[in-house]
Amino acid sequence: MEDYKFLFKVVLVGNAGVGKTCLVRRFTQGLFPPGQGATIGVDFMIKTVEIDNEKIKLQIWDTAGQERFRSITQSYYRSAHALILVYDISCQPTFDCLPDWLREIEEYASSKVLRVLVGNKIDREDREIPAHVGEDFAQRHSMYYLETSAKEAENVERLFMEIAAELMEQARSKELPRYDSNSPTINGRTTVIGDGGCCSRMS
């Protein structure tokens, strides 16, 4: 048995080139990778963090943004506890694609999934999307919002730590894993059947 109290799956999505892989590398390895190739399929990384003296294992799935990887990446939505949707604040098209990504999320992810919108590359001078526009969008779609720079290590740690803290909070208040017949369970460890008035709890 490994030494951790909670295990959460975090999936990053968004157009290719917005900096998903850099965000993950920055968080898991503390570096900004120079000229690595585009992600192929899905990359997998693990980092264990500590909050309130509790060990939390984060399983991070870094997906490739291109259309041709969609059938691979879609298969990871359902079991995700948190989805990070990333765009590039210096690239309007990556922002314009957000509704498409949301449609995907609606279709495949659990309705209970924690959704975070991230505007990356704030170190760049040529910003195209003002912060309030991103924030508005996030608010309209009931998502958390954060602006980051993987390059300058800005808000990256905070992004993942806040997700971990929030998920831990949810798990503690037993909000996290519910079963209802319309949306799939996101965690088999505590399943509640809301049917016929009798409930049973798994442990």
């Binding site: 899905v42 997998f44 041709r68 059938s71 079991s79 799939p184 059947i193 016929g196 049973s200």
Partner: protein, 754 residues
Amino acid sequence: MASLGKNEDVLCTSDGIESVYNKLVAQEEEINNGLETLLSRQCHLEAKLRGITKVLPNLQIVHSDAQQLAEMITFTSTLAENVSSKVRQLDIARSRVSECQQRVHDLLDLQLCSDGVQTALRNEDFEKAAAHVHRFLSMDQHLLKQTADDVAEDCTSVTNSFSLLHEAATQLGAVVTQKFDEAVHADDLASVERFFKIFPLLGMQDEGLVRFSSYLCSKLKDTALKNLRLALETNTSDKRANVIYADTITLLFEGIARVIEIHQPLIETYYGPGRLLTVASYLQRECDRQSKRILAEFSKCRHLEKIVQQVNEYMRTNNVYSKPTDKLDPKELDLLLGELTIMHSRAELYVRFIRRRVMNDLEIGVPSGDTRTALVSELEAMLNGSELCHRMQELLSSYLLLERYFMEESVKKAVVMDSVEEGSHTSSMVDDVFFIVRKCIRRAGTSSSLDGVCAVINNACALLETDFCEVLRRQLRQGYPSGYLDLTQAYSVLHTSIQQGRLQASDSEQARLMFLTYLNNADASTEYTDTLRRSLMDEVPSVLTTMSENERVKLESCLSGLGSVAASLKAVIDYGMEQLRVIVIKPRVNPWVDTFLSVSHQLSEEDFANYEANEPFVQNLIMNLDGLLGLFRGSLTTSNYDTLVSILTAEVTAHLEKVVIKSTFNRLGGLVFDKEVRALVSYLTSTTSWSIRDKFARLTQMATVLNLERVTEISDYWGSNSGPLTWRLTPADIRQVMTLRTDFRSDDIKRLKL
């Protein structure tokens, strides 16, 4: 003296004086001994002193010797310094001489070369001509000119030779290029190789590699086109017809691999190692062109685009609008799915081969460092950015879509065609569904893509956890028809009708059978899920061969999704069991247990003897319970049956406890109750493989209390005397149970210290 002075009164007695005297004598002796030892050392010390005085003058000599030695060493070192500097000078002089010699050689060779190259060219001896040019190119032309100037104050002959040789080199280059092209045109492999070897002698490595690569490409193209034509002509009845495009693309990959296998030694020998990347990049472009062609034909002949579109639409409309007629039969996809995975796998193996070969070549040919790192990234960019890889990723994407459709639709079909066979606890769909799921995941493995396998595993988990569990749950939601009085009869009717191979039982009989079957389905599925998870953890790595630790963890993480499936199945079982508890067990068991109240537990000796002979309450209860369990024993899986017994036991014990609290007992009544509990435990233990004793812990302890002779006897079992017994009854419980004994005085009970 302190010892003496302190005790002055000691001196007043003769005994005292004597003892003091004795002490003094002893001290004197001691002091004498000390002096003697000191004296005895005197002679030794004197001898030593004499020795030292004798040696003293020698020291002087040693000192001067040492000084002399130091001077000598300094002298020698200076000498050595001088000699070595002379040697260094000599060395420089010698290297100058050898440089000079080299230059003289060069000058001599220059003449030879410029004469020789002409002759060789005239004789079409291109190798010889190239050798002359090669020799010439290895010379430092600038220095030679200078030397000629210094020596003869005239460099015209050297300059002439230079221009002559330059001219010859250019001419030779042109001729060799032309001859090479002619050889390619004539498909004269020997000549192609002959001229290919000459390029590097002329300093035309890049030219040579490019031309040779395009020659190889043209050969590949011819073969590929021929193979594709044969593929298109293949009769549909041919036994390879179903995988003909996979075969064709495999031939292309094997062709390229063979080309590298054959020509790499030639390239390495004449161009040096580290050159394979250039050639591989050219070959890759040809591979991209030819694979594109094959894939286009494949897509056209197998109607891939149309099928993908159809399936996509069907999935998008969520099955609502599509008529069953235009729905694709999943079985029709079987062959196509197989061919898709073979193609992907072959491309994967091919890319791995190229990567390995070029990496090895770079490791030998390029010293590690920035250059090599850059070349390795170039290799990765070349492979990952190749059209082949993109197309294969698209192919995999189509495969995954179709595989998902295949899995979902096949499972739906299995559910629709579900049937119960005689003698089977489960219905056909469980075996069918898990057969399908396993088949799909295995097939994904044959694509050699971990991402592909993981995606199919994820899809399988989604399917099992939502759709499949929902199918099971839906059946259970219809409920278990009650009506106990009919049940025995209903069962016999049902069983006979099943035995006759006809399911003509009444609606409620059929509903009961289906309920239990689906409960069993859920149980069997749990087991299948566990098996699947365990076997895939071994199977997948053995199919994919090369897996890093990270990839292994990735696979494990996806397989843990099957753990969630098992948990959902468990919830389905719990749901069904809860229904049985509420509908079947509770309404029957409670009245049976209630009859306890109608049997007095205030017994005389005579009553006791009578009672013991019949045990009316418990034997009746056991008979009823056995009748009830008997209805399920043959119809449930072992695990489900054990769960049912466990639920039944919980009901019986909980209710019996309530009833006992409402009764009164005397000593003999308590004894009877103890026997009754034992009888129940022993019956229920015999009917299940699980331990039910724990569920009886409180009742057994109540029986112990009711069976006491006196109130105070409890101390034999309580506290430090409890031994291995863990009390489930609280002190308050014990007092309450004691009050049920009419012969116990409440004062005694109150006085108890627990």
